[in-house]
Symmetry: C4
Subunit: 198 residues, 4 copies
Amino acid sequence: MNETGRIEAFSDGVFAIAITLLILEIKVPHEFVAGGLGTALMHEWPSFLAFLASYFTIGVMWMNHHRLFTLIGAADDVLMGLNLLLLLGVTFIPFPTAVLAEHLTTGNDRIAGVFYAGCFFVMSIVFQVLWRYAIRKDGILLPEKIEEARAILRQYMGGPLFYLAAILIALASGTACLIWSLLVAIYFALPPRLWSRR
Amino acid sequence: MNETGRIEAFSDGVFAIAITLLILEIKVPHEFVAGGLGTALMHEWPSFLAFLASYFTIGVMWMNHHRLFTLIGAADDVLMGLNLLLLLGVTFIPFPTAVLAEHLTTGNDRIAGVFYAGCFFVMSIVFQVLWRYAIRKDGILLPEKIEEARAILRQYMGGPLFYLAAILIALASGTACLIWSLLVAIYFALPPRLWSRR
Amino acid sequence: MNETGRIEAFSDGVFAIAITLLILEIKVPHEFVAGGLGTALMHEWPSFLAFLASYFTIGVMWMNHHRLFTLIGAADDVLMGLNLLLLLGVTFIPFPTAVLAEHLTTGNDRIAGVFYAGCFFVMSIVFQVLWRYAIRKDGILLPEKIEEARAILRQYMGGPLFYLAAILIALASGTACLIWSLLVAIYFALPPRLWSRR
Amino acid sequence: MNETGRIEAFSDGVFAIAITLLILEIKVPHEFVAGGLGTALMHEWPSFLAFLASYFTIGVMWMNHHRLFTLIGAADDVLMGLNLLLLLGVTFIPFPTAVLAEHLTTGNDRIAGVFYAGCFFVMSIVFQVLWRYAIRKDGILLPEKIEEARAILRQYMGGPLFYLAAILIALASGTACLIWSLLVAIYFALPPRLWSRR
């Protein structure tokens, strides 16, 4: 019985919507002091950068979510609850993204960066808990997949540390925190590092 | 024939979108009287609280919807109509959520709370009708699942009462109504109480 | 080969999103002349009425779309193109809905109503063309379902006429047009009339 | 093992949401200089034209994405990464669409058109890379489908050239660029040209 089918469908929906809603936070420039539309668009670089960082972070989370559920044979209610908690973070991301984009050049960039990276930090913890629960609890993972799941979990260990570093970086500069977050997402998305050891 | 496949897909879509649209109601703070972004974000606590309460309420409704449809073998048109009525409530939730969040500190919190809790009350009634119809009508539930469905329905009996209480609480305080609604959702989401009797 | 699976998934997504985006057009009342939030919410009746009419119209269209595709065995490219044209109408609906809701009490209600009903009229024509193409073209419908499809098509004949009437009614009153559209959707959703002759 | 099921589901979600969010960029007219709502709606022709062009462009991309994945047997991580890059473009489209719609009559139409067509150009390149990777890498395409994939790829060769032309046209006129983009999408959607050679 494919009990996890609808959990995946619902999760896919939430991931897909959250990742697509990000674009609503980038506003069309209306008034230009000088230089026309081209300059005005370039001045929106904080929005583009935040869009990219959040897009790839959600995208990589979806890829990992997808990987986890290919190993799962059946879901129990704790797993559904943990999944709902993870998706809470996913639906929330557009807000800290917009906050950071808007305040990257206002002098409030550091507090905005801490808020942004803090959200990712909490989500990476929830993801860890989800993986560990799936591994430890009998009957969740397909028996022949447990070793593979353990190997993947070891690779993900770094997640919370990377985002803890992002918080520390934000204490110095919101822009640096954003670039770091983008690099972390790209690092996790790159197949050679993360996936080749399969 | 898996006749319910597309009903579930469409419903999953509506649940996933409604739950994700909630974040659009939380606005990025622009102007601060004093204290910077951190304080401004903290002043948005009504939006965060309303977001959380509505997120978990929709999430738990999705979990229950999911449970119901695992017991259903085929859908008829009355069931599709009732489902459409339930989804009407789900798509509507972002509106009372925004109304309550915005008016929690304006002196209109009680009427906003009654509106908010009233929507949940109506939805819990529709959910009851949906369950009862599925149990009573021949050919909807898988025959071997009818007993399980009856047991679950007994657990859900409390739903309308909990939200009736939420309306009464709103008459005293919108904030208390919101906290109560959040607690009700968490209570329904907690596996030990609701699910362990399987 | 279930070639239509992804067409249905994509269509379900579009229907589910369009129906859920409708709520974004209802604005939270901010300033009240007098009487507080309750009165302000009641003054938004045009938005609620338009929300309901469009919700049920999209919902019923989804139900019909669902019915059609249960009879279809394989899709060709003309069918995909016609489906894309139908979905164009579905994604467009939130706009005329918002236009009519906003102008129902501004003296522009009749032109807004003609616009609103005109959109539904065009969509009902596209739906007719889609059904007829599926019936006439070899290899689309499952062979044993062609008679059933013909019977359903006869029931849908009235669709364009109902919306032509809606346009005429809008020439007299936008509100009457909206109520008529809501009644048409409910009429099509009611199982006894539409579905019992299966 | 249908490993590509969830990639398709997630991609379908992103396509469906991006195509539906386009409507949010068309604003309800509020203030009219003269002539009422009808005239005001007609003055929004840039928004309608941009909506149509982007709708059909995303729609056609979805159809091609769908075609590609019917030929694919299993996805590896590079393919998932390329797919995520393609979807980045899809989620981004509502923004250049809104920029072009808003600036089509402001004297900034040419730079807006270059931005709009440039996005499509980049996406058509990514699509080419995705197809080529799927064809060249062993184990992605179903073996019996490789010839078909090659034939389709030859038809798509024109894509980047068409959008390069769109950029050049935008240097003369944003409106002409928009009409050209719409024609390109309709050309790709027309079954006789593109699909008949199956």
